[in-house]
Symmetry: C2
Subunit: 403 residues, 2 copies
């Protein structure tokens, strides 16, 4: 680490070059920034494509994923731009990229080049399918990885077309693993005697990151020998009841994973005799008589408000939650109370909700959210601070269209 201010943020003093784009890599770099690292977003002149038209039209996703970073612009196709990157790499602890496999090598700034330059560098590459194996050259987006990883095959209804799981789970899942891999490598560089002071390349693919998500389906397949059908109603396990129930003004989701919970659910349903009934005595028997239970829950929920139904089951210590839409999530009082979400007055977007890191440490407060940088906003600051350039050096680089 080049700078070690006395700060209790875990990654205080760690210097990161973030060459990533879209969701996967930016999420990894965002997590580093929120843990206190100095993250420099390195963008093409004009900025990352995800910025869209910029200013007040900047996509919320860009704002969320790039807050608390600094931005420099750099033409990595020019020889002076490459040279500048190498000079920055000399000062960096970590470089992150998620270009298509081989792009950095073709630019002459791949891992083989960079590790010669700075053997202590942690170089993290986020890919769709990994660097090795017959599919490593395939282009990947969240949607196609949902297909390749099996997620689509189990989302939707039996006999119906495969459906997309909402959101971009493959991007974010692999971004979280990418961050984890960087930290593991940083730890090994600093603490493992046999790798002390040595950098490495960290590799994470979207495809690999999703495998464990299918743990339940892989279990059902192994034990039953039957390939799981699409079933967005419930998993193949025995938990019962397990479903979503429509109230007057919305839905609740509920799952029962113990006989004690079942006994409490029968209180809500006002069917005390069901608690001891033989046909409902355990998960397997409840599963066999699921239709009767589902009907009772449906009828129970119908005349209730969502808030009421949720409160009743919650009071009975049953795993239950309201099905929240995007607005309800964004303004969720619990997430605002815990500090995960905050209303921020952003200079470009106005009053918006931005999210903090999902990881908290008792030893330090949550890092306050700042804002996403404009393209090249920190050119002068970073080139001065990292490389000792002065204003005229920076101006010359602007004129040469290198930054």
């Amino acid at each position: 680490m080049s700078v070690l201010p006395q700060s209790d943020s875990p990654l205080s003093g760690v210097r990161v070059l973030d060459l990533t784009q879209i969701y996967q890599g930016p999420y990894a770099a965002f997590l580093m920034a929120m843990a206190g690292a100095e993250v420099i977003k390195v963008e093409p002149i004009g900025g990352e494509r995800m910025r869209g038209p910029g200013g007040s039209a900047t996509p919320m996703a860009f704002a969320m994923l790039n807050t608390n970073k600094k931005s420099i612009t750099l033409d990595l196709k020019s020889s002076r731009g490459k040279e500048l990157l190498l000079e920055l790499v000399d000062e960096a602890d970590v470089l992150l990229e998620n270009f298509a496999v081989g792009t950095m090598d073709r630019l002459g700034i791949g891992w083989e080049q960079l590790k010669q330059r700075n053997p202590a560098l942690i170089y993290a590459t986020g890919t769709g399918y990994g660097l090795k194996g017959p599919d490593s050259d395939l282009l990947a987006m969240d949607h196609t990885i949902q297909a390749a990883s099996g997620i689509l095959s189990v989302t939707g209804d039996e006999g119906q077309p495969p459906m997309r799981a909402g959101g971009a789970p493959c991007d974010i899942m692999s971004g979280a693993h990418m961050y984890a891999g960087v930290l593991t490598a940083l730890f090994a560089r600093g603490n493992n005697p046999s790798t002390q002071g040595k950098g490495t390349r960290v590799e994470v693919s979207m495809l690999d990151s999703m495998y464990f998500t299918l743990s339940s389906e892989l279990s059902a397949y192994h034990s039953g020998g039957k390939i799981p059908e699409r079933n967005s109603r419930r998993t193949g396990g025995s938990a019962c009841p397990y479903g979503r129930y429509e109230c007057m003004d919305g839905w609740i989701a509920l799952i029962c994973v113990s006989d004690a919970q079942w006994a409490r659910i029968t209180q809500a349903l006002d069917k005390p005799d069901w608690a001891g009934a033989d046909r409902f005595k355990n998960a397997i028997s409840r599963r066999k008589n699921e239709a009767e239970i589902e009907q009772a829950l449906k009828e129970w929920a119908e005349p209730l408000s969502q808030a009421d139904a949720f409160a009743k089951m919650r009071a009975l210590k049953v795993p239950v939650a309201p099905v929240r839409n995007i607005e309800e999530v964004r303004t969720n009082p619990h997430m605002h109370a815990s500090g995960m979400l905050s209303w921020i007055n952003n200079r470009d977007l106005g009053e918006v909700v931005l999210a903090n890191s999902p990881i908290q440490y008792e030893s330090c407060e949550r890092t306050p959210l700042t804002t996403f940088p404009r393209p090249g906003e920190h050119n002068a600051e970073v080139l001065q601070d990292w490389l000792g350039m002065d204003a005229s050096d920076v101006e010359a680089l602007v004129e040469e269209k290198v930054i």
Copy 2:
């Protein structure tokens, strides 16, 4: 670290007590084991409930998530059991738990107690909703967090009931963040001058971990002002075409994110005039005329085999993938070639596919997969190695039903 063998595994010498259960915490501990840490799974006598009947009936998920760990049993409700845990904590770098909030405190072995005992300990707690905030006491399972986090609200079809995203994304996503948080804390303990030698509590919730997954939906909502409807066909963005197409024997998923890709898709469709056509000239115009494109892709795919359709689009450098079922994922040649998946002869399950860590380091080979332990299999080994007990000490603990 108590033991530092010369090994290039990043976490070689790191000692971990894994008190976790089900998917979330065990995934975090699995990632530690695969990065070279010594992970001791601490189970109730008889074993974690997720083992089910055990032996050849052990669920695949348990096998996947607990490979490469050692197991000890410990009755944490007995005073001798608690005492033993404290002695183990003296020797540990990390302790992980994902009990309901407050459980460890009630047992008298919560963070407040443990940090007195070992101020260098990293204590990681995985929760549903976090330790603070009005919903922190809510019981959580993947299904209810899909509801509370907004995933259900955008999975399924407009006007239809909310649907479950296949798999257990909330469990695995938060497990990955939990691992990342532990590594961040370990790094800070070893490398940050202001926290050198100090442990901390790391906290990750399932709810918080899912927020960024909805980046696209939050963007669409922010720019359009309209709460996104359920739409498992595509996101609200402008990428077009974007869909799944049925071939003779299966489906492919495809997404087009540039005009250059669109031009190549028109080659596959044998509609060269579409590349330059005004109504398809960019994503926004293609989106307006989506029905025509969808119809053409549907007709194109119908007479082809899935393998053919995939190969044709792949050759044209379009992001495309076959929609794989669980069996096709598990036996995927690419994932086996890359070393992510392996056939393992397991003493309890026979020939099975197990997965490695999605995180790879150039500086060391993938850790070979061993097997999941039987409950208490390493009682004698761990109590001897960590606490210096001899065989008769261990035997006495068995007789007292402490282990």
